[in-house]
């Protein structure tokens, strides 16, 4: 059963990854991913992340259930922040534990792909001059990445 958190505050990636394996002797691999707020060209003041409370947690949990059905996982943690996030700050965390690295790498990648395309979060850019640039558009590249997993399941 995956641990899913949607929160305004930052998180401690080391502690979260460590907690997955703490006290266990059956885990051989923990793969973790941290997504950061990135500034392209020095003009971004912040991102504003809006989410759909309730559905965001449920959708991430559904993605985690799909990953658990697909690979022999021994634990997973997903954290996604919302609210105002400035460049250099962490936005998202995915960590997956398994007996072997193959399942952990694959499940972590699938979870991130699903998170980007299915979890109800929306980003808006705030520029350094105070201008609100508007909502960031979804990328076809992300849809293609996510589609890999459903195609492979058929």
């Amino acid at each position: 059963m995956a641990k899913v958190r949607v929160q305004r505050e930052d998180f401690d990636p080391g502690a979260e990854a460590g907690a997955l394996a703490h006290g266990r002797t059956d885990i051989g691999a923990v793969v973790s991913f941290i997504g950061y707020c990135r500034d392209e060209g020095g003009s971004l003041a912040a991102l504003e992340l809006e989410h759909y409370p309730g559905m965001a947690e449920e959708e991430v949990a559904r993605a985690a259930s799909e990953a658990e059905a697909r690979w022999p996982l021994l634990g997973a943690t997903v954290i996604h922040r919302y609210g105002r996030i400035t460049p250099g700050e962490r936005i998202v965390f995915v960590a997956v534990a398994a007996a072997h690295r193959g399942a952990a790498f694959a499940a972590a990648e699938m979870l991130m792909d699903y998170l980007k395309t299915r979890a109800p979060f929306w980003k808006r850019a705030i520029r350094s001059d105070g201008a609100v640039e508007g909502w960031i558009e979804s990328k076809q590249e992300d849809d293609r990445s996510a589609a890999r997993w459903s195609a492979a399941a058929d």
Partner: protein, 83 residues
């Protein structure tokens, strides 16, 4: 049913949440969008490119041909950009 709007769909509609009582002839998500578009310019603007708006029924992603019968909460939003 309760309707929720997010991101630019919310901005165009002009509200984050409202109560809707569509007539019984409104059976699907697509019907609901067409019915909403008749309610005002904000709705028509929000749904002017139907493929650009996603829907969820009781917090589960739904297609435009999905039935809204018995649904308590419908949500409309742009394609997701989290992660």
């Amino acid at each position: 049913m309760k309707a929720l709007y997010f991101a630019w769909v919310r901005e165009r509609v002009g509200t984050a949440e409202e109560e809707l009582s569509p007539p019984s002839t409104v059976e699907t998500v697509g019907d609901l969008i067409a019915w909403l578009c008749e309610r005002g310019e904000g709705y028509a603007h929000a749904f002017d490119k139907p493929a650009a708006v996603r829907a969820a029924l009781d917090r589960v992603h739904a297609r435009s041909d999905a039935s809204i019968t018995g649904v308590k909460e419908v949500a409309f939003f742009p394609p997701m950009t989290g992660g």
